[in-house]
């Protein structure tokens, strides 16, 4: 039996969903209601924190594809439970599965595995509310994670990460066109990852993103985003090791009153590596491409 490549399957599924949604709405309602902006920008997160009383379950897969040579696929799929207890904060938590398919990649062991990757939690606080006189909204988020599988190598590890973000979005055309942006600071620590008695190995990542999302029909947003990421040794941006710029399209589809999907695809367009000054991409800390697919049900 021929096995469909996951990347092609995701692209085909996404195109199918868009076609069905746009056709279904060609002659239907043209009401463009207010929108929850959290998921309309791809990897970039909007300021939305949900509705008080709303609960949501989702499967959220992020994949990193392509390294130096060989074949590389690494993914994490979160089983997320999200709820909004009041009109200011939102909480999320859940486990995630980790998958690795690595063959003949420089400096990485061959691996083909799926395992429980760890647990995460997230709190989001809306700092600045959008209003009639000012179209900007800002939310702060903190996401601690514990990982038992290294996200790059797939080795068993003991890793702690804290993703801190400022999520902002600006309504450029009411209920139709939005500009989003994130600021990222992500320190992490891994206990002796190579079993060499090194204690805690600390690193950090910083980043900034910009995204534009346009609502083509009431239930479909399409857009594009740019991410610039820098990686450092040490928790406090101590020693710069490399950077990367990612660019790609984004998609959000409201599948029904209580169900939606969001997808994004980013390609590394440039990068730098302090250990390889001739490199045009950074494939040590980052992947060639990355993808995201999230399907959520609210209740």
């Amino acid at each position: 039996m021929r096995i469909v490549h996951p990347t092609r399957a995701i692209i085909a599924f996404t195109l199918f969903i868009v076609t069905v949604s746009v056709r279904a709405q060609d002659n239907n309602t043209t009401i463009f209601r207010d929108v929850e902006t959290k998921y309309i920008f791809g990897f970039t997160e909007g300021s939305g924190i949900g509705l008080e009383g709303e609960k949501e379950f989702s499967l959220d897969t992020e994949a990193r594809i392509g390294k130096q040579g060989g074949h590389y696929w690494a993914s994490e799929t979160k089983g997320e439970f999200e709820f909004t207890p009041n009109q200011y904060v939102q909480f999320e938590f859940g486990p995630f599965m980790s998958g690795h398919r690595i063959k003949d990649v420089t400096d990485l062991d061959n691996r083909n595995q799926v395992a429980l990757g760890g647990f995460f939690g997230e709190i989001r606080y809306q700092l600045l509310d959008r209003g009639q006189s000012q179209p900007l909204a800002v939310t702060l988020s903190a996401e601690p994670e514990w990982r038992r599988i290294d996200e790059t190598t797939g080795k068993v590890v003991d890793n702690y990460e804290l993703e801190l973000k400022a999520n902002a979005d600006l309504e450029l055309i009411q209920n139709r066109l939005y500009l989003g942006g994130n600021l990222l600071y992500e320190p992490e620590a891994t206990h002796d990852p190579d079993r060499l008695g090194m204690g805690w190995v600390k690193e950090s990542k910083g980043g900034v993103s910009g995204a534009l999302s346009y609502r083509v029909v009431p239930d479909v947003f399409v857009g594009a985003e740019v991410w610039y990421l820098r990686h450092y040794d040490g928790n406090w941006f101590n020693s710069y090791t490399g950077d990367a710029t990612f660019v790609g399209p984004t998609l959000y589809v409201q599948l029904g009153p209580k169900m939606f999907m969001t997808a994004a695809w980013n390609v590394q367009t440039s990068g730098g590596d302090v250990n390889d000054p001739t490199a045009k991409l950074n494939l040590t800390e980052f992947s060639r491409q990355r993808g995201k697919l999230k399907v959520a049900v609210e209740f």
Partner: protein, 110 residues
Amino acid sequence: MKIFFAITAAVLIAAALATPAQAQETSLSISVKNHRFQPAELHAPANVPITLNVKNLDPTPMEFESVSLRVEKVVTGNSEGVVRLRPLAPGRYNFFDDFHQETNGTLVVR
């Protein structure tokens, strides 16, 4: 490791303390009959908490929902529900019945 726990604890405490002190409250009432809001437009003062009493006069359930108000509340048939809103900036806030999407209304805050 201590830094992770310290920052996480600080964020949690800040969020817990983040709910603003309650100013004087205003109360509003709205009904739903034959899948129509009555009145379809409500008015409220800016920057005070609002308590909205939603009376569903239809026999079927409705869900009062608004993204800009950040609330959703199911009200079963022939019953009432209370929706509490944070202090709002001046503006127009749309709401609808998520179970009957043609049922729309607006809260005007001045």
